[in-house]
């Protein structure tokens, strides 16, 4: 039986993907005259824009683009059908080493699989023996079926482990597979995790009182490599480029502002400062970029930030949250939607069309093609969720 609605949606997706409007539409609308019918010229122009964009992207991407990834990226299976959501209990954000003894303020909540359209809870996710449900982060591969989650060791709660689950066509999760090795909280708790497009590498960010680091784990063997820098401040979000070699992440500067950087994971050594570089194009009005995710074609990033108009005095009054598309070939970021202020987590599906972002207890689904949003708050599974929990979700 063909799922005609989803296939239709995918069919339209296939046809409209990459369509770009002409750049002088506002001026034409202002002139008011009906555009003369010029056969093919605009279609050609639109195609040219795409082609020029692709060509222009190459010089920007080439210098740090290493050899092709070892294995093929997992392919999206169509519009996302499932979301995996989990929560991280909020503890006092005192600097480490108090992290190591930080205890959740309330019972943990079990991670769940949600229906991607309605937010309905479909299935709970089991956690491997010896791990607790507490402190779960989530990362997804582009196929919307392969996920990695984090969990604390049950006792003493001084380390973390990661495990994989795979969803079947009904969203039912497989038995969890533990990724070898564990992470000590001595270097801080994981802030975010990101699964490479081929699902063979897991990256996580962590920060402690006097250093912060990005660590990459080979999912099969548990072998790991870390890049660190001797500074405090948050490393909040991580996202793999489609080449499986570059990793975007957000980091807190000495002025307290969050910015986006890109780590070249093929660089030797372990100096995070030397191996990473800032993303161009973000001006001073786009401040505090908390979360970032690569577009599947690698030509742009989607990020959330705070827009602070130049010259604003009453910043609190006028600043607002934005979901931005940041072109990596140059050019200014483009606002896709407005969001709340503050921390959030983004997850872009494998097709690059659907974004979810979590803020507070809600998940917002944003269709980047149409601008349509849908917000849902997943029902708790297991014990009740505290309002201060941070919600993580990925597809």
């Amino acid at each position: 039986m063909v799922d005609i609605e989803n296939q239709l949606s995918a069919a339209i997706d296939d046809r409209v993907a990459g369509l770009v409007a002409a750049t002088d539409l506002a001026e034409r609308a202002r002139r008011g005259g009906r555009r003369r019918r010029r056969a093919h010229s605009l279609a050609v122009a639109a195609g040219a824009v795409i082609a020029i964009g692709a060509v222009a992207a190459i010089p920007m991407l080439t210098p740090s683009t290493p050899a092709a990834p070892a294995s093929r990226p997992l392919r999206p299976t169509g519009p996302p059908r499932f979301v995996v959501a989990a929560t991280t209990p909020v503890v006092n954000e005192a600097p480490a080493p108090s992290w190591t003894s930080a205890q959740p303020l309330h019972p943990a909540v079990r991670p769940v699989v949600l229906d991607a359209l309605t937010g309905r809870v479909l299935h709970p996710i089991s956690v491997p023996p010896g791990l607790s449900w507490s402190w779960s982060l989530v990362a997804a591969a582009p196929d919307d079926r392969t996920f990695v989650l984090s969990a604390r060791t049950a006792a003493p709660q001084t380390s973390f482990s990661f495990y994989r689950v795979h969803l079947d066509e009904d969203g039912r999760p497989s038995a969890p597979t533990l990724i070898p090795g564990s992470v000590s909280t001595r270097l801080g708790v994981p802030r975010s995790i990101a699964l490479s497009p081929d699902a063979t590498q897991l990256a996580y960010s962590s920060d402690a009182a006097d250093s912060r680091q990005i660590t990459i784990i080979d999912v099969a063997t548990g072998r790991r490599h870390a890049w660190s820098e001797p500074r405090n401040g948050l490393l909040w979000s991580a996202s793999w480029a489609p080449d499986g070699h570059r990793l975007a992440f957000t980091s807190e500067g000495q002025n307290g502002v969050m910015t986006v950087r890109i780590l070249d994971t093929t660089r030797p050594g372990s100096d995070l400062t030397a191996a990473s570089s800032p993303v161009p194009g973000l001006s001073s009005v786009h401040t505090n970029v908390w979360s970032v995710t690569y577009c599947p074609d690698g030509t742009c990033m989607i990020a959330n930030g705070v827009y602070l108009p130049t010259g604003s005095v009453a910043a609190v009054q006028v600043a607002y949250g934005q979901i931005l598309r940041i072109p990596l070939a140059g050019g200014s970021p483009v606002e896709l939607a407005r969001s709340g202020l503050g921390r959030m987590h983004l997850s872009l599906d494998g097709t690059g069309r659907y974004l979810i972002y979590t803020q507070g207890q809600s998940i917002t689904r944003l269709d980047l093609n149409t601008g349509q949003t849908r917000k849902f708050t997943p029902a708790p599974s297991g014990t009740p969720r505290a309002k201060t929990d941070a919600l993580y979700a990925a597809w």
Binding site: V2, Q7, L8, A11, A21, E335, T370
Partner: protein, 168 residues
């Protein structure tokens, strides 16, 4: 409308024109028609920008796009011929069953009456609810349900009997 209004209109067009073009293309029969529809919609939007920009303007503009696409179809029906740049798209066999299926679905979507097509695009591509779809099209929820049902039935029939086999 100068200065702030002009600037915000420019920003809106820059940010949303491509997304609106995709909506128009899903509703129209060709890229040229889609560009015309978008152009007309933005002209109408510009004239009323001061009023509609107080709230989220996108649903308003999207509604103009949908209605312009539907009314444009009526006008185009009276035209004796249409020049095209390439051979009209037809569903063809390919290596992939999925590609076959999607080609067939999109080709059949283009053959649907414009309002039926609009209902399917709004409901199943843009994920609008039945109520939202009815509001966008200015019709009743019952009409949306019946149009969606008929449209899906035609698409199912097209999948059961692919376009490339018809007329052989």
């Amino acid at each position: 409308m100068r200065d702030e209004g002009e600037r915000s209109f420019d920003e809106f067009v820059e940010a949303r024109a491509s997304a609106l073009l995709r909506v128009a293309y899903a509703l129209c029969e060709s890229m040229h028609d889609a560009e015309d529809v978008l152009q007309v919609a933005l002209e109408k939007t510009y004239h009323h920008w001061k009023r509609i920009s107080r709230d989220d303007p996108e649903p308003y503009v999207r509604r103009i796009v949908v209605n312009t696409a539907i009314s444009g179809h009526r006008r185009r029906r009276s035209r004796p011929e249409v020049q095209v740049a390439a051979v009209p798209e037809v569903a063809v066999r390919s290596e992939s069953d999925t590609t076959d299926l999607r080609n067939a679905l999109f080709a059949e979507l283009r053959r649907l009456p414009p309002r039926q097509r609009a209902v399917l695009v709004l409901r199943f591509w843009m994920d609008l609810s039945e109520t939202e779809t009815a509001q966008a099209l200015g019709c009743s929820v019952g009409s949306v349900k019946s149009q969606a049902s008929r449209g899906l039935a035609r698409l199912r029939a097209a999948v059961a009997e692919p376009a490339w086999t018809r007329g052989n």
